[in-house]
């Protein structure tokens, strides 16, 4: 029992949310769960001696990588939310199964 299991559970929960949720906001929140789980897994695993002996991941590099990942994920979330709000306001739909059009309906 260790954090790998916890992170996997979190990742699985997020994945289940992405698959089962119908509301775009909930889907996006589930994506955030997956991202969080993945980053926790990465940061946790990178610090393990069994891996650092092979790859030489010192704490500073882990932290720097984690930071960049964090920033990227946050930027992605911001763009995603902006798109979502724009789409929902122009089409009036917030459900994934309603958002089936690639272009405007005639």
């Amino acid at each position: 029992m260790n954090f790998v299991l916890v992170a996997s559970i979190l990742f699985g929960l997020g994945l289940y949310g992405v698959l089962s949720r119908r509301d775009v906001i909930a889907v996006l929140a589930s994506v955030e769960l997956m991202l969080g789980a993945a980053t926790v897994m990465l940061v946790g695993l990178a610090g393990l001696p069994s891996l650092s002996s092979q790859g030489g991941a010192d704490p500073g590099t882990i932290e720097a990588t984690g930071l960049l990942l964090l920033v990227m994920a946050a930027a992605a979330a911001a763009v995603g939310l902006a798109l979502l709000v724009a789409i929902a306001r122009s089409t009036g739909r917030t459900r994934t199964d309603e958002l089936t059009d690639v272009r405007d309906r005639p």
Partner: protein, 168 residues
């Protein structure tokens, strides 16, 4: 598999319980505000995990970016999209066997693939200082930093385009 009773293990169990619990609420709740609150709790527990792995800077950055930034954006989106006059806003799910199978299967695969590679106990790590972090970010990882900065700029511009285009 009995962990010794220490501050570290208490923190581990607490973090595990709270993070899984809040994630479960995010996935299963039908109330959009509960979803947002538990997402915030989840972000804070992720910060807690970073702290657990002795990455204090990462933890504070997580709080700053996610709990203070992304969560506010999520709340914004909720307010923009789902203002209801009466009754609780309801989130709908289609709980199907397929998604359960896929999610459980993938999670199981991840666990199985990492199981024999990961030791049980958490190793003692050096505490990275911010100076070290800066040296790395501006030294060996400078291209990465530049790439991420560029990505951020693109993200900013695209958000502006998305909203600016809609206004016309």
């Amino acid at each position: 598999m009995i962990a010794e009773f220490s501050a570290s293990s208490i923190a581990f169990w607490l973090l595990s319980a709270v993070s899984i619990g809040s994630a479960a609420v995010v996935v299963f709740t039908r109330d959009v505000m509960r979803l947002a609150i538990s997402l915030g709790v989840f972000f804070l527990t992720v910060a807690g995990w970073y702290l657990y792995f002795t990455h204090a800077f990462l933890a504070v950055a997580q709080v700053f970016l996610y709990a203070g930034g992304v969560l506010v954006l999520v709340l914004f989106a909720i307010m923009f999209l789902r203002r209801s006059k009466a009754g609780e806003p309801i989130l709908e799910s289609r709980h199907s066997t397929d998604s359960v199978v896929i999610a459980v299967g993938l999670g199981f695969l991840v666990v199985m693939s990492l199981r024999d590679r990961v030791p049980i106990a958490l190793p003692q790590q050096a505490f990275p200082t911010t100076t070290e972090l800066a040296d790395i970010l501006l030294g060996p990882m400078l291209p990465h930093l530049a790439a991420v900065s560029l990505l951020l700029l693109v993200a900013c511009v695209s958000v502006l385009v998305v909203f600016g285009g809609e206004r016309e």
